[in-house]
Amino acid sequence: MSSNASTQVVSTGRGARFVIYTILLIFCLYYLLPLYVMVVNSLKPLREIQAGGMMNLPDAWTLEPWKSAWSTAQIGVQATGLKPYFMNSIQMVVPAVAISTVLGALNGYVLTKWQFRGHKIIFGLLLFACFIPFQIVLIPMARILGIMGIAGSVPGLIFVHLVYGIGFSTLYFRNYYAQFPDELVRAAQIDGAGFFTIFRRIMLPSSGPIAVVCVIWQFTNIWNDFLFGASFSDFNSQPMTVALNNLVQSSTGVKEYNVHFAGAIMAALPTLLVYIVAGRYFVRGLMAGSVKG
């Protein structure tokens, strides 16, 4: 991370720099293009889109597609708009994130500061569990949710996301607490502090940064999930991603592209907002999620 200007070794000539800037800008356009297309077309009346000119700014700006996507668009059998599904997603994501983060913090604390025989095996099991293809658990999970009586419900989805979110949240806290000095914990133990006192007084106060990373990671993963939502929800419990897909794929009637675009932005807004507000932590979460150990 030595970004010392004076020791920058590779120097580039003027021509080369021009080429570099051009390529970087072209890629900026490439990454922004779909977002631009979505935003612009969500603000147009349908006939403008049908007349072509997807790249053009609207002639007649309108918020109708947004209103329609939110509260009147036909999704499945009812014309409810995306609003109830947005609420489903919120109801699903908040408890799942909160519980998995708390459990992850406690687990990470145990796995680093209260190690016992076999803690490495447990860590290995948790680590591998993060990377299974979820297709391998779909069939038994569908059965178990049925047996537990929470199939096709928001609590069922919370449960599923909780189960498969614990692995990652534990890893985050475990890796973070591993760097935390053992001496502090030992000193507190000698002073007679117990398991939970040490956690509350010593570990928690310095856990802010990793908690943010963990919450962002879990939030984006669970909000963006489609496979579990499509497999384990019914019409009343579908999350936003599944509802958006239904809206877009519905084959009846005229394709209301502008409404679809508005819906897509709605589904993207929460995670986009997180990225804009806490981008630094978002990236840290991605990196920690990819290069583990």
Partner: protein, 300 residues
């Protein structure tokens, strides 16, 4: 009195020793049951004649033999190889190029970086929806270029049996290449400048500096990127569903979409389970050695 106090003390000791294990046990139980137990259950199902509902009658390797005889599965495997290969190659190439360019003391680097990275925050369903319309010849890129006067321009890959799988690559690369860029950029920032200076004094050009010294040192970043991308490629489901729904025909069938349709819509649970087992095996073949080496390095 004294002995009861001692006994109470030892009970307290026992509780104190057991507390961490008690705290960990619900999570451990969940993972053992819902991950490893479920894996065992699905593996078992893959050897049974389950159709709509799980059945417990074993039929040996029949499902696996049938699976590999199915044309849909052959297509899915071929597609995941094409998709995965191109996806990894393009993401690494674009990611490395952008990282090297961004590392040249670029003005507004932070801003450009965040533009490259934002697609990663979006759901594949959103990404698929956006690209679906963008690639649609009726209203998307083709229509736009026609309206700008380039009427001979043709871009209808998404409607074509042969080319549709490449549109999945386009959208997936758009989504992930910025993230790969960030991984390479982190790797570049960790390289020691002294070695580069020495080489430059010896008269190495910028190009050979990168080819001979910088890129070889990015090996760990390459490893991580390839493992993560391969793992994502095998799991890919949402993007295909949103972008093409597996079509046209079966042109964009992947193992993940195959598993879902055979299990839940075609009532061939045994074959679906077998395909899930194959997916798990392929991911394990990539992840286990990687995680193993990562953990061992940490211990040294």
């Amino acid at each position: 009195m004294a002995s009861s106090a001692a006994r109470r003390g030892s009970a307290g000791d026992f509780l104190r020793d057991a507390l961490p294990k008690i705290v960990l046990s619900p999570s451990l139980a969940m993972v053992l049951i819902f991950v490893y137990g479920f894996i065992a259950f699905t593996v078992y199902l893959s050897f049974t004649d389950s159709r709509i509902l799980p059945s417990y009658d074993l039929v040996g390797w029949k499902n696996y033999i049938n699976l590999f005889r199915l044309r849909a599965w052959t297509i899915a495997v071929k597609n995941v190889v094409i998709f995965g290969g191109l996806y990894i190659t393009f993401c690494c190439f674009i990611g490395l190029m952008l990282a090297i360019f961004l590392d040249q003391k670029i003005r507004a680097e932070g801003f450009i970086r965040s533009i490259y990275l934002y697609p990663m925050a979006l759901s594949f369903i959103v990404t698929g929806t956006a690209w679906k319309w963008f690639l649609d010849p009726g209203i998307g890129l083709e229509a736009v270029l026609h309206s700008w006067g380039w009427t001979s321009f043709q871009f209808n890959w998404i409607k074509s049996n042969q080319m549709a799988i490449y549109t999945i690559v386009i959208a997936a690369v758009w989504q992930t290449s910025g993230f790969v860029m960030a991984m390479f950029l982190a790797g570049l920032r960790g390289i020691d400048n002294e070695v580069l200076k020495a080489a430059q004094i010896d008269g190495a050009s910028n190009f050979s500096l990168y080819r001979r010294i910088v890129i070889p040192q990015l090996r760990p970043a390459f490893m991580s990127a390839i493992v993560v991308l391969a793992h994502m490629a095998i799991k890919s489901y949402d993007l295909v569903i949103a972008l093409t729904g597996g079509g046209p025909g079966r042109a964009t069938e992947l193992p993940a979409t195959f598993m879902y349709s055979y299990t839940f819509t075609r009532n061939q649970m045994g074959i679906g389970a077998a395909s899930a087992v194959i997916m798990l095996m392929s991911i394990a073949a990539i992840m286990v050695p990687y995680l193993w080496s990562e953990l061992r390095e940490k211990q040294q």
